[in-house]
């Protein structure tokens, strides 16, 4: 009841209060998805502005924070789509870093059949993953986040990013190759 009253008050009287109440929460989510402080601030601002403009649509069902979060998620996907347009797939020789001309693993890339990744503990894992995602080209990192963090299926991601299934698979494969490599490296050093 208290929560409802607060929602009603903050939506009718002072939407500026949204910024103090929900700003950091939305920002943290945006940052975890975008790995770019400026871009995260930008989408949070867009969320507040859009939320305010469409405040009549908030029917008081569920929390205001959850409603704003829904707007934020759509803004993030919009940004992913823009990024995927501007970073069209460059046919680089990304695989040649890992495989020789015969298509075998290069020495030192995978020198063990064991999986050192499973020895990283959970908290450390998240931190290292974020760092390594930050080193990937944005389009690849975005595809990976949508697929593995948001657990969307391939069809949905292709629709949202307006890319073809084969583009998506190439992006995911590149992301995974580089992430496993980067994460091992980071962890071992």
């Amino acid at each position: 009841m208290a929560e409802e009253n607060m929602n009603a008050a903050s939506i009718t009287i002072e939407p500026e209060r949204w910024v103090d109440e929900y700003g950091d929460y939305l920002f943290r989510y945006a940052q975890s998805r975008l790995r770019d402080r400026d871009a995260a601030e930008e989408v949070v601002q867009q969320t507040f502005v859009a939320g305010f403009e469409n405040r009549q649509q908030y029917a008081g069902k569920g929390s205001l924070r959850g409603w704003l979060m829904g707007i934020l998620k759509r803004k993030i996907v919009d940004l992913y789509r823009q990024r995927s347009r501007t970073s069209a797939l460059i046919e680089d020789s990304y695989e040649s870093k890992y495989f020789d001309e015969q298509g075998s693993w290069k020495p030192d890339v995978r020198n063990s059949k064991h999986s050192p990744l499973d020895t990283i503990d959970r908290e450390e894992f998240w931190e290292i993953l974020q760092k390594c995602l930050g080193l990937l080209p944005k389009g690849q990192a975005d595809a990976f986040v949508l697929r593995e963090l948001d657990e969307k299926d391939s069809q949905e991601i292709c629709k949202e990013l307006e890319i073809t299934p084969s583009n998506l698979w190439v992006s995911l494969h590149r992301a995974r190759l580089q992430l496993t490599h980067c994460m091992k490296h980071r962890w071992q050093n």
Partner: protein, 88 residues
């Protein structure tokens, strides 16, 4: 006989969709004989599982953290308030 490069693509694909019977067979034939590719597959499966099990940020985390990197700056908050104000 598929190369490791080809198998690595199929392994990655297997995380996103159901493979055809022939792809599945060639992948496993290769994995049985190739320790490096099996290791790669383990890494990918582990990467996927661990990533999925990451919790969403929640309120309890928020109230405890004072890390400036995970908060909006005062300037950013002011800017947002003005942006909302401008829409009134």
């Amino acid at each position: 006989m598929l190369s490791c490069k080809e198998v690595s693509r199929i392994v990655s694909k297997s995380l996103d969709q159901k493979l055809s019977m022939s792809q599945r067979v060639s992948m496993w034939m290769h994995l049985m004989m190739c320790g490096l590719c099996s290791g790669f597959r383990k890494d990918l499966v582990h990467l996927q599982q661990q990533t999925k099990s990451q919790p969403e940020p929640d309120e309890s985390v928020q109230s405890e953290t004072s890390d400036p990197d995970s908060q909006l700056s005062i300037a950013a908050k002011d800017r947002m308030k003005r942006a909302i104000e401008a829409g009134k």
